[in-house]
């Protein structure tokens, strides 16, 4: 069974807002091994033109994954998560996430298609502040191996 193409175009309502904290940003920067002070030190972030410490470019995936978990778990989608690998990832940024941001993530399934024996699903996740300011949009392609059988 393949991923259900009837889900193309479906948008999932955002969950509770996510609050970006300094501690989490420093923890994430440590985990990726990036010593850049703009992720930890407010003075360094201010010198670079930011109101507070910022997030590394890939940090929005943490917020996106939490939001897309709801979509991927929808039984009607028929996605076999055990067979899923990450195919592509892209971000478009209006600005970096900054400590203190309170944001929501809205996931839309933009495409579901077959490629040989695999099923590919592309989602876009729009991350914006609770005030409605766009921060970034993440485009994610998942590959379900053997999903088209």
């Amino acid at each position: 069974m393949a991923i259900n193409p009837e889900y193309i175009g479906k948008t999932f309502p955002p969950g509770p807002p996510y609050e970006v904290s300094r501690v989490k940003l420093a923890e994430f920067a440590d985990a990726i091994g990036d010593p850049n002070p703009v992720y930890r030190d407010r003075a360094a972030a201010a010198a670079a033109g930011y109101p507070d410490v910022i997030a590394p470019p890939t940090f929005p995936i943490v917020i996106g994954m939490a939001a897309s978990g709801q979509a991927l778990a929808d039984p009607g989608l028929n996605l076999n998560y055990a067979m899923v690998v990450h195919g592509e990832q892209r971000f478009e940024y209006s600005r970096p996430l900054v400590a203190g941001d309170v944001v929501t993530a809205t996931v839309t399934i933009s495409d579901i298609r077959q490629a040989g024996r695999n099923s590919l699903m592309t989602t876009s996740t729009r991350i914006e502040t609770v005030g409605g300011e766009h921060v970034c949009t993440a485009y994610n392609t998942l590959v379900e191996r053997g999903g088209a059988q």
Binding site: I32, A48, P56, P57, T58, V62, G87, R90, F91
Partner: protein, 142 residues
């Protein structure tokens, strides 16, 4: 961290020297915790092998993060990343030893756009295998 790069100084075709980033089993455990992605193939060798992988593999997003660091280190603190995308072409295999694996990233300035933006094409390899393809960043420089 490098010195600040300016748009006017950058030339199309400029090569960005390669940098190598280590990844060990401990790196992956920390990334699981920080990212919330606890997929067992990133920490359990028995299960990784049982689903046909050669060993535990790094999170694709860990590899992408190393490429992101490469971009921001080159561009400097005054730059802004506008767009960043990759395709994951092969896994980074991380053995259970002291050294783990290495992810080597290099890049080239392929285009200068308007509004002080430049396009970087990135290459990432681990153990001589290309682990990212179509890796590209658009950065706005001062």
């Amino acid at each position: 961290m490098s010195d600040q790069v300016s748009y006017d100084e950058v030339e199309t075709g400029a090569q960005i020297p390669a940098a190598s980033y280590p990844v060990t089993r401990l790196s992956l455990v920390r990334y699981c915790g920080a990212s919330g992605d606890f997929n067992v193939i990133h920490w359990n060798e028995r299960i990784a092998r049982s689903v046909g992988l050669p060993n535990v593999i790094a999170h694709g997003m860990f590899t992408m993060a190393q490429a992101g660091r490469f971009v921001t280190d080159w561009a400097g603190p005054g730059a802004r990343v506008v767009e960043f995308g990759v395709r994951f072409s092969a896994p980074v295999v991380v053995p259970d030893d002291e050294t783990g694996a290495a992810i080597t990233v290099s890049g080239e300035v392929t285009e200068k756009l308007d509004d002080h933006r430049v396009v970087l094409a990135l290459t990432a390899r681990s153990a001589d295998t290309k682990v990212l393809t179509r890796a590209r960043a658009v950065v706005r420089l001062p």
